[in-house]
Symmetry: C2
Subunit: 143 residues, 2 copies
Amino acid sequence: MRESTALDEMICFQLYAASRAMTALYRPLLDPHGVTYPQYLVLRVLWHDGPTTVRDLGRALRLDSGTLSPLLKRLEAQGLLTRARGADDERTVLVSLTDPGQQLRDAIGDLTPALLCAVDLTVDELTQLQHLLIRANRPGRTA
Amino acid sequence: MRESTALDEMICFQLYAASRAMTALYRPLLDPHGVTYPQYLVLRVLWHDGPTTVRDLGRALRLDSGTLSPLLKRLEAQGLLTRARGADDERTVLVSLTDPGQQLRDAIGDLTPALLCAVDLTVDELTQLQHLLIRANRPGRTA
DNA sequence: CCCAATTAAGTTGTGCACAACCCATTGGTG
DNA sequence: CACCAATGGGTTGTGCACAACTTAATTGGG
Protein backbone atom coordinates (compact mmCIF):
# COMPACT_ATOMS: atom_id res chain seq x y z
CA MET A 1 0.00 0.00 0.00
CA ARG A 2 3.07 2.26 -0.33
CA GLU A 3 3.18 5.20 2.08
CA SER A 4 -0.54 5.90 1.80
CA THR A 5 -1.15 6.10 5.56
CA ALA A 6 2.42 6.37 6.81
CA LEU A 7 3.19 7.35 10.37
CA ASP A 8 4.64 10.78 9.77
CA GLU A 9 1.88 11.72 7.39
CA MET A 10 -0.77 10.80 9.88
CA ILE A 11 0.90 12.75 12.64
CA CYS A 12 1.34 15.77 10.40
CA PHE A 13 -2.27 15.71 9.32
CA GLN A 14 -3.50 15.20 12.87
CA LEU A 15 -1.38 18.13 13.95
CA TYR A 16 -2.75 20.29 11.16
CA ALA A 17 -6.35 19.24 11.86
CA ALA A 18 -5.99 19.61 15.64
CA SER A 19 -4.56 23.11 15.28
CA ARG A 20 -7.48 24.20 13.12
CA ALA A 21 -9.98 22.53 15.44
CA MET A 22 -8.43 24.37 18.37
CA THR A 23 -8.77 27.81 16.79
CA ALA A 24 -12.34 26.85 15.93
CA LEU A 25 -12.95 26.27 19.65
CA TYR A 26 -11.54 29.70 20.48
CA ARG A 27 -13.50 31.50 17.80
CA PRO A 28 -16.91 31.70 19.51
CA LEU A 29 -15.18 32.66 22.77
CA LEU A 30 -13.16 35.50 21.22
CA ASP A 31 -15.60 36.69 18.59
CA PRO A 32 -17.79 38.63 21.05
CA HIS A 33 -14.66 40.60 22.00
CA GLY A 34 -13.78 41.32 18.39
CA VAL A 35 -10.40 39.58 18.36
CA THR A 36 -9.06 36.55 16.50
CA TYR A 37 -6.92 33.79 17.97
CA PRO A 38 -3.57 35.16 16.69
CA GLN A 39 -4.58 38.61 17.97
CA TYR A 40 -5.40 37.02 21.34
CA LEU A 41 -1.93 35.49 21.46
CA VAL A 42 -0.37 38.92 20.88
CA LEU A 43 -2.52 40.38 23.65
CA ARG A 44 -1.45 37.60 26.02
CA VAL A 45 2.20 38.45 25.50
CA LEU A 46 1.45 42.12 26.16
CA TRP A 47 -0.66 41.32 29.23
CA HIS A 48 2.15 39.19 30.58
CA ASP A 49 5.24 41.16 29.57
CA GLY A 50 4.04 44.74 29.27
CA PRO A 51 5.23 46.97 26.39
CA THR A 52 7.08 44.82 23.87
CA THR A 53 8.90 45.47 20.62
CA VAL A 54 7.61 44.00 17.37
CA ARG A 55 10.83 42.00 17.25
CA ASP A 56 10.21 40.37 20.62
CA LEU A 57 6.58 39.67 19.76
CA GLY A 58 7.86 37.89 16.68
CA ARG A 59 10.33 35.85 18.72
CA ALA A 60 7.66 34.88 21.26
CA LEU A 61 5.05 33.89 18.67
CA ARG A 62 7.48 32.71 15.97
CA LEU A 63 5.93 35.13 13.48
CA ASP A 64 7.66 37.58 11.16
CA SER A 65 6.90 41.24 10.54
CA GLY A 66 4.96 40.34 7.41
CA THR A 67 2.36 38.74 9.63
CA LEU A 68 2.63 40.99 12.68
CA SER A 69 2.60 44.41 11.02
CA PRO A 70 -0.91 44.23 9.57
CA LEU A 71 -2.19 42.33 12.62
CA LEU A 72 -0.89 45.04 14.97
CA LYS A 73 -2.31 47.70 12.69
CA ARG A 74 -5.76 46.14 13.09
CA LEU A 75 -5.43 45.96 16.88
CA GLU A 76 -4.29 49.59 16.87
CA ALA A 77 -7.28 50.56 14.73
CA GLN A 78 -9.50 48.93 17.39
CA GLY A 79 -7.86 51.11 20.02
CA LEU A 80 -6.44 48.17 21.95
CA LEU A 81 -2.78 49.17 21.60
CA THR A 82 -0.42 51.88 20.41
CA ARG A 83 2.85 51.73 18.47
CA ALA A 84 5.79 54.07 18.96
CA ARG A 85 9.28 54.18 17.51
CA GLY A 86 11.98 53.44 20.08
CA ALA A 87 13.73 56.50 21.50
CA ASP A 88 17.19 54.93 21.67
CA ASP A 89 16.92 52.78 18.54
CA GLU A 90 14.76 54.37 15.87
CA ARG A 91 14.43 51.06 14.06
CA THR A 92 12.41 49.37 16.76
CA VAL A 93 8.70 49.85 17.40
CA LEU A 94 7.40 49.45 20.94
CA VAL A 95 3.88 48.08 21.25
CA SER A 96 1.92 49.13 24.36
CA LEU A 97 -1.59 48.33 25.53
CA THR A 98 -4.16 51.08 25.91
CA ASP A 99 -6.58 51.05 28.83
CA PRO A 100 -9.22 49.21 26.77
CA GLY A 101 -6.51 46.72 25.80
CA GLN A 102 -5.68 46.14 29.46
CA GLN A 103 -9.32 45.84 30.44
CA LEU A 104 -9.93 43.24 27.77
CA ARG A 105 -7.91 40.83 29.89
CA ASP A 106 -10.59 40.69 32.57
CA ALA A 107 -13.41 40.93 30.06
CA ILE A 108 -12.21 37.81 28.27
CA GLY A 109 -11.30 36.10 31.52
CA ASP A 110 -10.10 32.53 31.81
CA LEU A 111 -11.00 30.41 28.80
CA THR A 112 -9.53 27.23 30.25
CA PRO A 113 -12.75 25.63 31.58
CA ALA A 114 -14.63 26.06 28.30
CA LEU A 115 -11.78 24.51 26.36
CA LEU A 116 -11.06 21.64 28.73
CA CYS A 117 -14.60 20.34 28.54
CA ALA A 118 -14.49 20.42 24.74
CA VAL A 119 -11.63 17.93 24.49
CA ASP A 120 -11.82 14.23 25.24
CA LEU A 121 -8.51 14.12 27.14
CA THR A 122 -7.66 13.84 30.80
CA VAL A 123 -5.46 16.41 32.53
CA ASP A 124 -2.63 13.88 32.55
CA GLU A 125 -2.94 13.34 28.83
CA LEU A 126 -2.96 17.07 28.23
CA THR A 127 0.25 17.46 30.21
CA GLN A 128 1.78 14.60 28.23
CA LEU A 129 0.66 16.19 24.97
CA GLN A 130 2.09 19.53 26.01
CA HIS A 131 5.52 18.06 26.74
CA LEU A 132 5.58 16.17 23.46
CA LEU A 133 4.63 19.29 21.54
CA ILE A 134 7.27 21.36 23.26
CA ARG A 135 9.87 18.79 22.27
CA ALA A 136 8.41 18.59 18.77
CA ASN A 137 8.82 22.35 18.52
CA ARG A 138 12.54 21.98 19.25
CA PRO A 139 13.77 20.51 15.94
CA GLY A 140 16.72 18.16 15.92
CA ARG A 141 18.89 18.52 12.86
CA THR A 142 17.64 21.22 10.51
CA ALA A 143 20.39 20.51 7.99
CA MET B 1 0.21 35.80 37.98
CA ARG B 2 -3.34 35.09 36.87
CA GLU B 3 -3.67 32.76 33.87
CA SER B 4 -0.66 34.20 32.06
CA THR B 5 0.94 30.87 31.26
CA ALA B 6 -1.98 28.57 31.97
CA LEU B 7 -2.01 24.95 30.89
CA ASP B 8 -4.54 25.14 28.10
CA GLU B 9 -3.03 28.25 26.64
CA MET B 10 0.39 26.69 26.46
CA ILE B 11 -0.93 23.58 24.79
CA CYS B 12 -2.94 25.59 22.31
CA PHE B 13 0.03 27.74 21.40
CA GLN B 14 2.34 24.74 21.14
CA LEU B 15 -0.19 23.09 18.86
CA TYR B 16 -0.43 26.21 16.73
CA ALA B 17 3.35 26.64 16.59
CA ALA B 18 4.00 22.95 15.92
CA SER B 19 1.53 22.89 13.06
CA ARG B 20 3.21 25.87 11.40
CA ALA B 21 6.67 24.42 12.00
CA MET B 22 5.54 21.19 10.39
CA THR B 23 4.32 22.82 7.20
CA ALA B 24 7.59 24.77 7.16
CA LEU B 25 9.41 21.42 7.12
CA TYR B 26 7.31 20.23 4.19
CA ARG B 27 7.73 23.42 2.19
CA PRO B 28 11.25 22.86 0.82
CA LEU B 29 10.35 19.24 0.05
CA LEU B 30 7.18 20.11 -1.86
CA ASP B 31 8.24 23.40 -3.43
CA PRO B 32 10.34 21.78 -6.19
CA HIS B 33 7.17 19.95 -7.27
CA GLY B 34 5.10 23.12 -7.28
CA VAL B 35 2.58 22.05 -4.64
CA THR B 36 1.75 23.33 -1.15
CA TYR B 37 1.12 21.23 1.92
CA PRO B 38 -2.70 21.42 1.75
CA GLN B 39 -2.49 20.59 -1.96
CA TYR B 40 -0.27 17.62 -1.08
CA LEU B 41 -2.90 16.38 1.38
CA VAL B 42 -5.53 16.50 -1.36
CA LEU B 43 -3.24 14.58 -3.68
CA ARG B 44 -2.64 11.94 -1.00
CA VAL B 45 -6.37 11.32 -0.69
CA LEU B 46 -6.63 10.97 -4.46
CA TRP B 47 -3.58 8.71 -4.67
CA HIS B 48 -5.06 6.50 -1.97
CA ASP B 49 -8.76 6.52 -2.83
CA GLY B 50 -8.89 7.26 -6.56
CA PRO B 51 -11.50 9.64 -7.99
CA THR B 52 -13.25 11.41 -5.13
CA THR B 53 -16.06 13.94 -4.87
CA VAL B 54 -15.40 17.40 -3.47
CA ARG B 55 -17.71 16.47 -0.62
CA ASP B 56 -15.63 13.43 0.36
CA LEU B 57 -12.38 15.39 0.08
CA GLY B 58 -13.90 17.88 2.47
CA ARG B 59 -14.89 15.15 4.91
CA ALA B 60 -11.42 13.57 4.78
CA LEU B 61 -9.51 16.82 5.25
CA ARG B 62 -12.13 18.61 7.37
CA LEU B 63 -12.24 21.50 4.90
CA ASP B 64 -15.25 23.20 3.34
CA SER B 65 -15.89 24.10 -0.28
CA GLY B 66 -14.78 27.66 0.35
CA THR B 67 -11.26 26.34 0.86
CA LEU B 68 -11.32 23.39 -1.52
CA SER B 69 -12.85 25.02 -4.59
CA PRO B 70 -10.02 27.49 -5.28
CA LEU B 71 -7.39 24.96 -4.20
CA LEU B 72 -8.72 22.37 -6.65
CA LYS B 73 -8.94 25.02 -9.34
CA ARG B 74 -5.21 25.70 -8.91
CA LEU B 75 -4.35 21.99 -9.07
CA GLU B 76 -6.52 21.70 -12.17
CA ALA B 77 -4.73 24.69 -13.74
CA GLN B 78 -1.45 22.85 -13.13
CA GLY B 79 -2.84 19.88 -15.03
CA LEU B 80 -2.66 17.55 -12.02
CA LEU B 81 -6.36 16.74 -11.88
CA THR B 82 -9.70 17.19 -13.62
CA ARG B 83 -13.17 17.99 -12.31
CA ALA B 84 -16.41 16.65 -13.73
CA ARG B 85 -20.04 16.93 -12.66
CA GLY B 86 -21.49 13.62 -11.47
CA ALA B 87 -23.59 11.78 -14.06
CA ASP B 88 -26.19 10.50 -11.60
CA ASP B 89 -26.21 13.50 -9.27
CA GLU B 90 -25.58 16.76 -11.08
CA ARG B 91 -24.77 18.50 -7.79
CA THR B 92 -21.59 16.53 -7.10
CA VAL B 93 -18.21 17.10 -8.70
CA LEU B 94 -15.85 14.17 -9.12
CA VAL B 95 -12.15 14.97 -8.87
CA SER B 96 -9.80 12.65 -10.78
CA LEU B 97 -6.03 12.63 -11.19
CA THR B 98 -4.45 13.11 -14.60
CA ASP B 99 -1.38 11.10 -15.60
CA PRO B 100 0.97 13.85 -14.37
CA GLY B 101 -0.98 13.88 -11.13
CA GLN B 102 -0.48 10.15 -10.74
CA GLN B 103 3.20 10.34 -11.62
CA LEU B 104 3.77 13.04 -9.02
CA ARG B 105 3.29 10.35 -6.38
CA ASP B 106 6.55 8.63 -7.32
CA ALA B 107 8.30 11.90 -8.09
CA ILE B 108 7.66 13.18 -4.58
CA GLY B 109 8.31 9.78 -3.06
CA ASP B 110 8.43 9.06 0.65
CA LEU B 111 9.02 12.18 2.73
CA THR B 112 9.11 10.29 6.03
CA PRO B 113 12.91 10.02 6.48
CA ALA B 114 13.53 13.72 5.88
CA LEU B 115 10.85 14.64 8.41
CA LEU B 116 11.80 12.13 11.07
CA CYS B 117 15.35 13.42 11.32
CA ALA B 118 14.10 17.00 11.68
CA VAL B 119 12.23 16.28 14.91
CA ASP B 120 13.76 15.58 18.28
CA LEU B 121 11.36 12.75 19.16
CA THR B 122 11.76 8.99 19.29
CA VAL B 123 9.48 6.71 17.31
CA ASP B 124 7.71 5.78 20.55
CA GLU B 125 7.08 9.41 21.38
CA LEU B 126 5.76 10.03 17.86
CA THR B 127 3.33 7.15 18.24
CA GLN B 128 2.23 8.51 21.61
CA LEU B 129 1.81 11.99 20.10
CA GLN B 130 -0.22 10.59 17.25
CA HIS B 131 -2.64 8.80 19.57
CA LEU B 132 -3.07 11.88 21.74
CA LEU B 133 -3.74 14.04 18.69
CA ILE B 134 -6.28 11.61 17.32
CA ARG B 135 -8.13 11.72 20.63
CA ALA B 136 -7.75 15.49 20.77
CA ASN B 137 -9.39 15.65 17.34
CA ARG B 138 -12.40 13.79 18.73
CA PRO B 139 -14.04 16.52 20.83
CA GLY B 140 -15.95 15.60 23.96
CA ARG B 141 -18.95 17.82 24.58
CA THR B 142 -19.37 20.44 21.90
CA ALA B 143 -22.41 21.91 23.61
C1' DC C 1 35.41 59.08 9.80
C1' DC C 2 33.25 56.35 6.26
C1' DC C 3 31.31 52.61 4.18
C1' DA C 4 29.64 47.84 4.08
C1' DA C 5 26.98 44.58 6.48
C1' DT C 6 23.35 43.91 9.61
C1' DT C 7 19.01 44.68 11.74
C1' DA C 8 13.95 46.29 12.47
C1' DA C 9 9.68 47.19 10.26
C1' DG C 10 6.88 47.59 6.61
C1' DT C 11 4.96 46.34 1.83
C1' DT C 12 3.49 43.26 -1.89
C1' DG C 13 1.88 39.09 -3.71
C1' DT C 14 0.21 34.28 -3.21
C1' DG C 15 -2.27 30.84 -0.97
C1' DC C 16 -4.92 28.89 2.92
C1' DA C 17 -9.08 29.02 6.27
C1' DC C 18 -13.56 30.19 7.19
C1' DA C 19 -17.99 32.77 7.61
C1' DA C 20 -21.77 34.17 4.97
C1' DC C 21 -23.90 34.03 1.16
C1' DC C 22 -25.85 32.23 -3.67
C1' DC C 23 -27.63 28.89 -6.90
C1' DA C 24 -28.85 24.52 -8.94
C1' DT C 25 -30.15 19.84 -8.12
C1' DT C 26 -32.32 16.46 -5.43
C1' DG C 27 -35.78 14.10 -2.75
C1' DG C 28 -39.47 14.07 -0.29
C1' DT C 29 -44.66 15.38 1.00
C1' DG C 30 -48.97 16.95 0.47
C1' DC D 1 -47.79 17.50 -9.98
C1' DA D 2 -46.38 21.52 -6.99
C1' DC D 3 -43.80 22.86 -3.34
C1' DC D 4 -40.09 22.92 -0.06
C1' DA D 5 -36.30 21.65 2.92
C1' DA D 6 -31.85 19.67 2.42
C1' DT D 7 -27.61 19.01 -0.10
C1' DG D 8 -23.34 19.98 -3.12
C1' DG D 9 -20.59 23.20 -4.89
C1' DG D 10 -19.15 27.89 -5.82
C1' DT D 11 -18.25 33.01 -4.74
C1' DT D 12 -17.06 36.97 -1.84
C1' DG D 13 -14.83 39.19 1.87
C1' DT D 14 -11.66 39.14 5.88
C1' DG D 15 -7.71 37.75 8.19
C1' DC D 16 -3.60 34.83 8.82
C1' DA D 17 1.11 32.97 7.12
C1' DC D 18 5.11 33.50 4.61
C1' DA D 19 8.45 34.53 0.81
C1' DA D 20 10.64 38.29 -1.29
C1' DC D 21 11.58 42.81 -1.38
C1' DT D 22 12.21 47.87 0.28
C1' DT D 23 13.67 51.46 3.42
C1' DA D 24 15.74 53.46 7.30
C1' DA D 25 18.64 53.10 11.25
C1' DT D 26 22.52 51.04 13.46
C1' DT D 27 26.94 48.79 13.99
C1' DG D 28 31.61 47.46 13.10
C1' DG D 29 36.00 47.47 10.66
C1' DG D 30 39.45 49.73 8.06
